[in-house]
Chain length 178, copies 2
């Protein structure tokens, strides 16, 4: 349950690739797709990157030797922004859409469940807004570098706008499911 679609998966990978090659020449979708093992899906990536561009997360140059770059430093891009751009507002339930609570759901009774979904949504958003693109790059460097140990994420306090508290300190990675 609570799945993220391939848009989210591929889009995040694309952004990580761009962050890795920051500073160099613009990176084409062909290059990205090969580096990320998505050779067959270049045309699909076109769709995804369009959303990222419209959200001002990447910039493009057309024509030969064209491609994409990040429009900001990876430290200044939260994964919340990335995923919202790719998949729309975070809303486990239609009545718990970010910023529109209470507008949509017109149930007369106490609709107790609404608060459940709101809490799930807040848990997700505060987590995503506390992780930057840079965090993912550092993480993968640690994994790739042979013999290196996994580093703990370093969610820096007070990222974008609100969600100041930035709850959710790293829970243990292994949870059993009863």
């Amino acid at each position: 349950m609570l799945r993220v679609s391939t848009r989210g998966e591929y889009g995040v990978r694309l952004m990580v690739d761009l962050a890795r090659h920051r500073g160099g020449p613009a990176r084409s979708l062909t290059e990205i797709s090969q580096a990320e093992g998505l050779e067959l899906k270049v045309q699909y990536l076109e769709q995804l990157v369009k959303c990222l561009r419209e959200a001002r997360l990447v910039e493009s140059t057309r024509g030969a030797h064209g491609g994409y770059r990040l429009s900001r430093a990876p430290e200044a891009i939260s994964m919340g922004e990335v995923l919202r751009a790719l998949e729309g507002p975070i809303a486990p339930m239609i009545c718990a859409t970010e910023g529109e609570m209470g507008v949509i759901c017109d149930r007369l009774d106490g609709c107790s469940t609404k608060y459940l979904w709101a809490r799930v949504r807040d848990a997700v958003t505060s987590t995503l807004d506390a992780i930057s693109l840079q965090d993912l790059v550092l993480e993968s460097d640690a994994v790739t570098r042979p013999g290196a140990q996994l580093v703990q994420f370093t969610p820096r306090a007070g990222r974008t706008a609100s969600a100041a508290g930035a709850g959710a300190q790293a829970a243990p990675a292994s949870l059993d499911h009863p």
Copy 2:
């Protein structure tokens, strides 16, 4: 994004209804569906409640005057259990399925994104495991009772098994989406 299906929605409502009528006679699906505004979907509820029964969250009695009851006190049922029963393990990404991390994903490179999904999953699970069915009932009572103020959820420490820290203290309900 990250939607919960109608199985989750209806199933949770069903459980709340059962919790509200705990102590009385067994409650039939017809009664429940009318109380919850799901008149037209009784047959669909049959499917959902089957999962809840198999997960030992409800008990049934057949025949006339039959119906369902909670098999435990509402305080002892976490919403994590309920939703897992209804929708399967919590896994924003296939490679981040609860309890099976690393088994499925066979990417050679550092697959940095895996850790992102794992953190999202942990945020969701620790939130859901910290909210009991009873919490939802209390919440809706507060809403329904005219003039009453909303109460803060009281996530009691150390519910099921691990997830001890139970991060994510209630973030402010209104987050803007850039």
